[in-house]
Symmetry: C2
Subunit: 162 residues, 2 copies
């Protein structure tokens, strides 16, 4: 394996590990468990899961993979804080969206070439990218992996005993 491939492989393994961890943590919770706050007065589990699902959906256009699959999640989970707007999704519908989005991402990630990863993402212009070459797809992958871990740490605090 070349050094490049080895570095990308490490990052993809880290991504996949955390995506699977999230599915395991959130995927089998009851509607009541999903209403639990991670700490008193803080986000509920369903909000964190919806937030992560929406942020991953936004990766589709950001990485040039395609159109968003679930833009309807943003008004509930990105532009509004928890408990400020009514949620029109269930745990089951979130689980289906999470799986659909992450499967599409994974299929595309597996096809990216080494140099694809070092290319700019779609939210940076050609001119800005010349000055700031770190604004590439690989940085987005790593950044979203730590974003996922950040919220997984919070969600783990509310892990129901039964």
């Amino acid at each position: 394996m070349t050094t490049e491939k080895s570095l990308i492989d490490s990052a993809l393994r880290g991504w996949k590990f955390n995506v699977e961890r999230a599915e395991k943590l959130f995927g089998d919770l009851s509607p009541e468990q999903l209403q639990q706050e991670v700490a008193p007065g803080k986000n509920r589990l369903i909000y964190l899961w919806g937030h992560l699902t929406a942020v991953h959906d936004r990766l589709l256009p950001l990485l040039g993979i395609g159109e968003r699959l679930h833009p309807e999640l943003d008004s509930m989970f990105v532009s509004s804080p928890d408990k400020s707007v009514p949620l029109t999704v269930s745990g089951q519908s979130l689980k289906a969206a999470w799986q659909e989005i992450n499967q599409k991402l994974w299929e595309s990630f597996s096809k990216f070439s080494d140099s694809d990863w070092a290319q700019r993402h779609t939210a940076v212009s050609k001119e800005d990218f010349e000055r700031e070459p770190h604004r590439n797809r690989f940085s987005v992958l790593l950044g979203r992996t730590t974003h996922l871990a950040y919220h997984l740490g919070q969600a783990a605090l509310a892990r129901p005993a039964g």
Copy 2:
């Protein structure tokens, strides 16, 4: 910049960003604030900071950089859960240790060549590494970055108002 260098640069930026975030979050807390739990019955802020400091210290031998600087932290912050043993450190001494350790790591990271990152870490044998080439230094760097983010997400829940 070559693709390799660009990938490594992304990972180092992510590491640095989170190390600085931790120092900002923990570094100026009063002794009373450090006693706060991130959620009722969960780890205290001082425990999380000590844990992160110890885990980063362990990177020195793991990545072949050198001897540990603060092995005394393990008995309080790695092998024991919070509140099970008396802490013999203060916020100030942890801050000094955190800075010392992370500065040494950063200096070494800056000197690693591209292929250094793809080499095995010291906890994997040559034989195992042939079968499992992803057990390299770069994977450790990425894994410890998500470990840091995981606990930063928890610590942020207890961020004191004043």
